[in-house]
Amino acid sequence: MIAINDRESFTILLKVLQEKGYTVIGPTVQGQAIVYDKIDSIQDLPVGCGDEHRPGGYSLRKRGDGALFGYVVGPASFKKFLFPPSQKLWQAKRTKDGFDVQKEKKERFKMAFLGVRPCEIQGIMVQVQVFLKGNYVDSHYQKRRKDNLIIAVNCSEPGGTCFCTSMHTGPSAKAGFDLCLTEIIEEKRHYFVAETGSPGGEVILKEVPHCEASASELKHRDQIMDKAENLMGRTMDTSGIKELLYRNRDHPQWEKIAQRCLSCANCTMVCPTCFCSHVTEGTDLTAQDVQRVRSWDSCFTSDFSYIHGRHVRHSTSARYRQWMTHKLASWIDQFGMSGCVGCGRCITWCPVGIDITEEVRNIRLGSVPNPNDSAKGVHDEND
């Protein structure tokens, strides 16, 4: 375990990454929020900036210290860099007797993500499972992910809509990073405790001035991170959640949510794991040129469930139910993990503040009883 002292060493870390050809992408302040974008120097980071999260509300605040990572998470996750919101898949030109697919120029993506929160690492891992595992590999995702470096920063101050403790994805990163930092601000010292998670991370750290972390530094970090576990703004009881949602397709709460839900799809757009897209093929006026484009889509739109001349999910209640059931239940069957990492974005960025943790509680309240409960006592959902 290693301590990187002061901010100067941090400047060197950025330089090392840039010299190795990485585009560094990390937090910066834009449009009154923390936005992940290209970082050129330490000045681009949100120095001394914190953020407040509540259902349907967000604001920045001055922390009064020099923290580089003193906020919680940005509105948009790192998803947009690996799975772009809109992306040309291919383009073709008409020829005399058919069409010619245009050769794409080779693009190389070498991105270093800086300040990746533990829940966001899990968000990336979920999408890796979706796009890169199994029988079909998404070459577009693969291209972007291949040389991707992850520099995590643990969450010492979780926010008002966070619940990663419930989802077992944070607030300390356990795996999936190349380098993981914990930012520690003491009265007279500002330093980072670093941990490497891959040979790539070790190579980077070698070139940054550091020393072996002392026992007291490590103790301080552990104290901060232990405390953080209990600072979650929200909690979600996930016990038997898959069966709970499968059992409660007809729960009256779905209708109640639909009275508030705008089916605007913000929740799915900001979710780091939602992977749905639509593919459109557009022609120009002369029909000489055709492009196939993939764009983010959502189960909250009516077109999303359009099959054979009709929409399958007409009502907002059916759409919300699909969303929540996919995130928390059928995702487990589909990918062997939960589709929710507990980042809280869908709660903060829902224009009318609908809260997934509260809705799980509401579903539990009037739930259809579990038939196995009386027979078996505690039921293991995965058996």
Partner: protein
């Protein structure tokens, strides 16, 4: 150049569909979007015979027309008859813009007594022949496709004409402005700055321009599919807006579109 190549590959002169543009009560902004298609317009004239477009040319070819673009709403008895004539000579009739699809900003008169306006505005009200309401084209004749917006979006117009030429459905989403707002990476002005935004109930098509310029959506493209105006209005009130302000927010360029109309009336009455 593209056009030349095309002509080479097609030895005999092909039939060029005839395009007409008609104007009713409107500001001409949507027709301007067609004129604004500078580069695309060259391709348009290569593919289509512009047979009736008074804003662009005095030359008028007789109907029938294959594709008629209709701008504006119906506000006079004369126009109510004229739109029926236009329909008769149009194979495909596409309405363009908020006026033609929802009655436009001039449909604000529908909520008041038009006679009062006339007597206030005109020196000799007896010369004014107007209907009590401004109504969308679809209330008068069957419409084949509606292109939303105030004004319409240039690329959606090109897409609609391209789709017409190739006999396919235009790709114009019916989902929320929010989706495009998020795709382009704008930070939500409603959540981060408590500005009223119509994005969650409005159909995308503009590319979420207003929030990108730090203001709320005005609802120019009208109600999206599955609108929940009641919930959004409630949230506006919780944000501290007055009922009157909420009413006015829904009563804009598309204020006469049924979903927005119902909400503004609810706010007005309740």
């Amino acid at each position: 150049m593209v056009i030349k190549k095309k002509q080479k590959s097609l030895p005999h002169k092909k039939y060029k569909p005839k395009l007409a543009v008609f104007k009713f009560a409107s500001c001409d902004g949507c027709q301007l979007s067609l004129l604004d298609c500078e580069d695309e317009l060259l391709a348009v004239t290569g593919e289509i015979e512009i047979a009736h477009f008074l804003e662009a040319s005095r030359r008028v070819l007789d109907g029938p027309y294959d594709l008629s673009l209709v701008e504006g709403s119906i506000t006079t008895p004369h126009d109510a008859k004229r739109i029926r004539d236009v329909r008769k000579i149009s194979r495909t009739l596409v309405t363009i813009g908020a006026c033609a699809t929802a009655g436009g900003i001039q449909a604000l008169r529908n909520f008041k007594d038009v006679k009062e306006f006339v007597s206030l505005v005109y020196a000799r009200p007896q010369y004014i022949s107007t209907l009590a309401t401004s109504t969308p084209i679809v209330e008068h004749v069957p419409v084949d496709f509606e292109l939303r917006g105030c004004p319409i979006n240039k690329s959606q117009l090109v897409e609609t004409i391209s789709a017409f030429l190739q006999g396919r459905k235009p790709q114009t989403p019916t989902s929320s402005v929010c989706m495009e707002c998020k795709r382009r990476g704008t930070v939500c002005v409603m959540v981060a700055q408590q500005m009223a935004c119509m994005g969650p109930v409005t159909q995308d098509g503009c590319g979420a321009i207003c929030p990108a310029y730090n203001r709320g959506c005005y609802g120019c493209f009208g109600p999206k599919e599955t609108t929940n105006t009641e919930s959004l209005a409630k949230w506006f009130l919780e944000m501290g807006m007055k009922k009157e302000e909420v009413m006015r927010t829904f009563r804009g360029f598309n204020g006469y579109a049924p979903e927005f109309r119902q909400e503004s009336e609810r706010q007005e009455m309740g």
